[in-house]
Symmetry: C2
Subunit: 465 residues, 2 copies
């Protein structure tokens, strides 16, 4: 009884503290969001660095005096440690302080790096993905330290700046620092609630193979009048290849693409069917006339548990105002494939390249490069950490969380499993409507508060069972 | 004999004059080429205007005191008249002083509007198309006036600034000024020799339908992880449509597209076969591995006398450095179709749009607009003006010209026929290798001189038969 009442008091004090200081928490987050730390754009490198050092200073101000930004070949990795008791479990908190590019800039209602709050919602690039969500972990830790003087669990933080550009430096860093990063579980808040007020824990993530290709026909741009009809046009050829990568059932035609796809179990299909999902609302929210899925699969299954092939960008020829009668030399596309267990990103890249080369017309040369890859992940839902997280979410939301698979990729989850043997608890507080890779990204301050509370309660349930 | 010897003396004097003053002619042309009169780019409007007024001043300096730039809704049309004797034939000279856009700028060896001469070749945007070629007509006129004090024919000039952007103002202008523009024949130098030293007169031109389309799927950019698999991707959909616009024989699949195509006669096919064409050299010159034509047609026939469908530009999604996992809201393409007699540009635009709408997936919205159109043309090769032009070219090159069809479009040729009832003599001195719509456009000064001579001789043969 003593332990439990102590635990209850600790939680209340920490929650009270976080309520009292909430406005300041938000101000600090806004300060963090002002740094345009876009990792995919080389010219933003200084700002990514600035964000890393902002974090180091903030962690030190919370009492994590060893907080440090480790330089890498890409952007720095910020690490900090806190030990309350070696017998207590250790939580490794992962987050990323880099953000997505902001174009098209003219579609933002307010500048992406000048955060504004409207109707309790914070608008800024990174508000949700992932500056806002990683910051909840820092504030939960602060609340413990400022109330109980200690946290219920040991904590380690690893915060990277290359998530949006493929986390190239992270696996090597984890491997080199495997002892320093040793823990019992990884906790990541970089995903979404199932819906507003409906908690979920993600146990499945899609992987990714992201490639870029350029077709070259003639060695220079030609006049489409003088040469048109006798020269294969690389845009036409690229379009044809892209079209042929799906069949009429929206299945991907790359040979062997589906060979390693593990079929969903009946239980999993039932669980997905049981989710409170309203396809009509979804269509409206997404802004389409109708969903288009692989034949035979529902919207939820298709967008979370089946592999995809999407062109993320395409360019070639004249794209300015008016008409230019050019027969272009080149056409290019970026293509990403979302992968599911047990597809392998490297193998899929190879299958894709060899399919493309086999279908490439003799008139075209192709440059093909793999931009990055990530393994798909399935996590054991029966662990002690999962139970603590489920209980924490039920405390906050009044109902147990759904266990869900999501369509996105968090490549580090596979890395942590492979390199440190650690499962991750994916406890996210975003919403699919947060526009995290679009203009007007935002994060509800209610969810920022709920996240801090859920993290506090998770620490308590996991460290003081 | 008197008339003939007079004619001979007149020609020699004019030729001598143009030789003596050739360096100055080139300097004047360079001055003209420095004006970046790109008609398709709205921000260049001032420079297009400047080029028009440069021409007016130049024409006036040659004694054409009524030279004037008429404002239009687009760019000005420059007109001037010269009458030597109402009983002589009247030649209406058409040219255009606007030029193509210059991107990709980094592929130019010297800036496009800073003309340079290397090894007798003049490099600049517009050097050949069409500033250099229209300027030959001005210099031939100057040579007559400075030697004989009069030209052998009546001359009218109509020089427009919208050829590269669709000549929107020209037809209305011709219609309004039909009396002032009355003539016996139009002469245009905006095409090419068959090959270096091998003259040709173009009697066939392709027409054009140029369209632009945008597909919209979701109403905003989406995260390809969260939504991929359940949302139709507009780039994938656009690629598929583009791919389906040709079949495996490189025939265009738009229903009715070929219905009005007039088959080439046996004589025409024989004449094309007789042309001194070396496919190996052509492939090398164009910079491709192999030609790709509509099944059953040769390179020359396909590139001059069969219709085409080329994507001139495509864009959508993320096209910057690195990876962005966006499922874009939109994808766009510019598509031009070269037409042959008796295809109609308006009808082809309608067939194209209705084909696209019929094949458009229910998940996509399409914006479709016609950017411009031009009728294909075939010209009578037996006229008196044609005979004079053929004789002039034989004088200069020592062999009679080939009569050829070319793949490009000179929409005004159809306009002159329709609105003024005039045939055109297309006597061009470019070469297909002049890169007229590409970086490093150029014009050999030898051909600039040959053109002036051929125009002089044409005037003499036509006016003093």
């Amino acid at each position: 009884m003593k332990a439990n009442s102590n635990k209850g008091t600790m939680i209340s004090s920490a929650l009270n503290y976080s309520k009292t200081h909430f406005d300041r928490f938000v101000d600090e987050l806004i300060d963090f969001l002002r740094i345009p730390s876009i990792s995919t754009v080389p010219s933003s490198a200084k700002d990514v660095d600035k964000a890393a050092h902002w974090l180091v200073h903030h962690l030190q101000s919370l009492g994590l005096h060893d907080a440090k930004a480790f330089p890498t070949e890409g952007h720095p990795i910020v690490v900090a440690h806190y030990e309350v008791d070696p017998s207590r479990p250790t939580v490794l908190v992962y987050g990323h302080y880099d953000v997505q590019p902001v174009d098209p800039l003219d579609l933002w209602d307010s500048p992406p790096f000048s955060p504004v709050i409207k109707d309790g919602i914070l608008y800024a690039r990174g508000a949700c993905d992932d500056k806002g969500q990683l910051f909840m972990h820092l504030k939960a830790f602060e609340a413990w330290m400022q109330t109980s003087g200690r946290a219920p669990v040991n904590l380690k933080f690893i915060l990277e700046g290359e998530e949006e550009s493929g986390s190239a430096s992270l696996p090597g860093f984890i491997e080199t620092h495997r002892n320093a990063l040793a823990a019992d579980v990884v906790v990541i808040s970089d995903s979404s609630l199932f819906a507003s007020g409906i908690p979920s824990i993600t146990y499945g993530l899609r992987g990714m193979t992201y490639v870029e290709m350029t077709l070259t026909g003639p060695d220079r741009d030609l006049h489409s009048g003088t040469y048109g009809g006798a020269i294969h046009n690389p845009i036409n050829a690229l379009g044809d290849l892209i079209g042929k990568m799906h069949d009429e059932h929206h299945r991907i035609t790359i040979d062997g693409f589906y060979d390693r796809v593990r079929p969903l179990s009946e239980d999993e299909l039932d669980a997905i069917d049981a989710l409170p999902f309203n396809a009509k609302n979804w269509v409206q929210e997404v802004g389409v006339d109708l969903p288009v899925t692989e034949y035979g699969f529902s919207v939820l299954v298709s967008s979370t548990s089946r592999p995809t092939l999407d062109c993320n960008g395409i360019w070639g020829g004249y794209t300015g105002d008016g008409a230019k009668t050019v027969l272009p030399s080149q056409a290019s596309a970026k293509i990403s494939m979302r992968l599911v267990p047990d597809q392998d990103p490297k193998e899929i890249a190879e299958l894709t390249e060899s399919w493309l080369r086999r279908h490439l017309p003799a008139s075209m040369h192709m440059d093909f490069k793999v931009v990055h890859g990530a393994h798909p992940v399935l996590i054991d839902t029966e662990s002690r950490a999962m139970a603590a997280a489920a209980k924490a979410l039920e405390d906050v939301y009044g109902c147990p969380p759904y266990f869900t698979r999501i369509g996105g990729s968090i490549p580090v989850v596979a890395d942590f499993k492979e390199l440190l043997g650690l499962d991750s608890v994916l406890m996210g507080f975003g919403l699919d409507s947060d526009a995290i890779h679009s203009p007007n990204e935002h994060f509800g301050l209610d969810r920022f508060a709920e996240g801090i509370e859920a993290i506090l309660r998770f620490h308590a349930h996991y460290g003081l069972p």
